[in-house]
């Protein structure tokens, strides 16, 4: 069952002399219980994409395209960021855990109080019920001494705890979709894996859909059902994880996977040659062409239109790798 359909989403900042395109032509669909990993180097527009799904982009950003949420057979269409319907969506349908979890707490209120504030907004219950529910949530994210955590101020939390409490906060409103921007990226790999495992368990229990913004391809391959590879504000490849694992179709995806493999084999870390282009620079043709080993003349002039597969999956490349 489809939960969210994003169609031709574009985000731009109009400036006096030019327009900066942060996102161009982003489309994907997300089913209930599905985990979508968004992959890309920093600055490719991942965070902008997350915020635009929540309607939280700054006011001077312009958007085009469609977001449609489906809940209880009702279709909620959102046209632009100022759409008042976003107020009914935030929290109740989609919630988010930010990368800087500590910064996402109000420093002057106890963690428990902040969870209760979310509960008050979305779940009707007596103060005692709310407190019980808050403690339950803290336990649910794998923190043992829930009562203690409830009474703590954010600055008293350790890194790992703050990740989990932030998750509890995001889950308090009982959303259908959770967006996690670089989840647990500040933790060491063991703690991070534990966190992601817990997230997967939670998801399986509650049929929650997840959008994970990741820069570690390994994590994406382990924890996602489908992957959306972004570059320079565009979607390059959107396919099932297993397909990408077998045959990455886009040269960029392939390059990322090659690097990952070299890392896994503890060879010297490699890099895709060339630089990540700044989002403010307009690159004619395929934005990856300065770094691409498969480029031809057409790549310099024409952006490759998407080639569609099943389920709206696609790849944008003139010379993509075809699976046999």
């Amino acid at each position: 069952m489809i939960l969210l359909a994003v169609k031709n989403l574009a985000v731009q900042i109009p400036q006096q002399d030019k327009t900066i395109h942060l996102l161009k032509d982003i489309s994907f669909t997300l089913k209930r219980g599905e985990t979508l990993a968004i992959i890309g180097e920093s600055g490719c527009g991942k965070s902008t994409l997350c915020l635009s799904i929540l309607g939280l982009l700054p006011q001077h950003f312009q958007t085009a395209g469609n977001l449609t949420f489906y809940k209880n057979g009702v279709e909620i269409q959102l046209q632009d960021q100022t759409d008042p319907h976003f107020n009914n969506i935030r929290g109740s349908i989609v919630s988010m855990v930010f990368q800087d979890t500590l910064g996402s707490f109000n420093p002057l209120f106890r963690c428990g109080q902040q969870i209760i504030d979310v509960l008050k907004e979305h779940v009707s219950g007596s103060p005692i019920q709310n407190k019980q529910r808050a403690i339950q949530l803290i336990q649910q994210v794998g923190l043992n001494d829930a009562e203690d955590v409830f009474n703590k101020y954010p600055h008293q939390l350790s890194g790992g705890m703050s990740q989990r409490v932030a998750l509890a906060l995001a889950l308090a409103s009982n959303p259908d979709l959770l967006i996690a921007d670089e989840p647990a990226s500040s933790l060491d790999s063991m703690a991070k894996n534990q966190y992601l495992d817990m997230l997967r368990e939670l998801k399986d229990k509650t049929n929650l859909a997840l959008i994970l913004v990741l820069h570690d391809l390994n994590d994406a391959l382990r924890f996602s059902d489908s992957m959306f590879v972004m570059y320079n504000g565009r979607g390059f490849e959107y396919r099932k994880k297993s397909d990408i694992q077998k045959t990455p179709a886009h040269p960029y995806t392939r390059a990322l996977i090659d690097i990952q493999n070299s890392l896994n084999q503890t060879r010297l870390p490699q890099q895709i040659p060339g630089e990540v282009p700044s989002i403010t620079k307009l690159i004619p043709g395929c934005p990856f062409h300065p770094r691409c080993s498969k480029r031809s003349d057409i790549c310099r002039t024409t952006f490759p239109p998407p080639t569609f597969f099943l389920n709206n999956h696609f790849v944008c490349c003139h010379h993509y790798f075809k699976s046999n």
């Binding site: 929540l54 939280l56 107020n87 935030r90 929290g91 109740s92 919630s95 988010m96 930010f98 800087d100 910064g103 996402s104 707490f105 109000n106 420093p107 002057l108 209120f109 106890r110 504030d117 979310v118 907004e121 979305h122 101020y153 600055h155 008293q156 932030a166 906060l169 995001a170 308090a172 409103s173």
Partner: protein, 326 residues
């Protein structure tokens, strides 16, 4: 926490002592001699010497100082005015009434105007309304109180004749009924309170506006919105508390500003408060009154600094729980 408060109070005592000592020295080192105010052509040098002796001014400075300190510390006796022989404590207490009334209402005015305009403009940051209010407030912030007071008197008292420009009451105050008396007092207070309160309101405004804009643009506000917390909660609960925090520490600055402002306003508006008593004492070299007033001012400033500290620590858990905090 209690330990910390006691420590904070104890550490204030040396500050108070150093301040008062410096004040004593400065007053006595300033040129001029209290005895000269009683000078007349028929006076001999011997009479002058008698006056100096009576005031204890013939003794060395350290002896004068320790004598004064002893009287204050052990008998709470600030001495008697050189000018009219009245008990300094009594003089100050009777002058305190108008100063407290003036400062209190100026503070209420400054806080209410500053906070509400600060929030109002923070919500409209960078619009025309914001710019107009912001620049107006900055003008008040940089205007000297005596000039503002004179302008008010010029406009509202002399030119428009709307409000009285001096004293606490009218001459016919006693003949009014109680409502009339209240009205009369209020009318007399309006201009002084505005003069003292407007620059303070501008200070408060500046802090609240900046704090509120900061809070509204912070990551935690974005995150709260992402969780679906409604705008009114974000505004009145989350952001307001965060933007009021700097104001609490500002309290330690506001109170001295009020006191020094009150001196000028009392002189401009001829109000019988501590400020005016002090100015009169300065011109008459009335050392006991000056020292009593200065000690009181030091005490109030230090007291409010401590109060501000304590409040700040109560409100901000990050400081409350940090090691070395209160």
């Amino acid at each position: 926490m209690l330990n910390g408060i006691i420590r904070r109070i104890l550490s204030a005592i040396p500050t108070l002592l150093v301040g008062i000592t410096l004040c004593f020295l400065i007053i006595h080192l300033a040129p001029g001699n209290p005895a000269t105010r009683f000078l007349n052509p028929s006076q001999t040098a011997a009479t002058q010497e008698i006056i100096r002796e009576r005031f204890g001014l013939n003794q060395s400075l350290p002896i004068q100082y320790f004598h004064w300190l002893k009287q204050v510390l052990f008998h709470f006796d600030f001495g008697y005015s050189f000018y009219n022989g009245k008990d300094c404590t009594e003089v100050l207490i009777s002058a305190l009434g108008p100063t407290i009334i003036l400062s209190f209402w100026a503070l209420v005015f400054a806080l209410s105007v500053g906070i509400s305009l600060g929030i109002f403009t923070a919500l409209r940051a960078d619009t025309h309304v914001d710019r107009v209010i912001n620049s107006t407030m900055m003008i008040f912030l940089s205007t000297p109180a005596f000039w503002l007071g004179l302008m008010f008197i010029g406009l509202f008292t002399i030119h428009l004749n709307w409000l009285p420009g001096s004293h606490l009451h009218s001459l016919y105050y006693d003949q009014l009924d109680s409502f009339g008396q209240l009205l009369d007092s209020v009318r007399h207070l309006i201009l002084p309170v505005f003069t003292l309160g407007l620059p303070l309101a501008a200070t408060v405004f500046k802090y609240i506006r900046a704090g509120m804009i900061d809070a509204l643009q912070s990551d935690y506000t974005l995150a709260a919105r992402a969780r679906g917390i409604r705008q009114s909660t974000i505004l009145w609960k989350y952001s307001l508390k965060n933007s009021l925090l700097p104001l609490v520490s500002l309290l330690g600055v506001i109170i001295p500003a009020l006191l020094s402002g009150a001196v000028i306003v009392e002189v401009v508006f001829a109000l019988p408060g501590v400020g005016r008593a002090m100015v009169t004492a300065v011109f008459g070299r009335d050392y006991p009154i000056l020292m009593a007033g200065a000690s009181l001012a030091f005490f109030i400033v230090i007291l409010f600094n401590i109060v501000a500290d304590i409040f700040y620590r109560i409100l901000d858990p990050r400081i409350r729980n940090s090691a070395g905090g209160l």
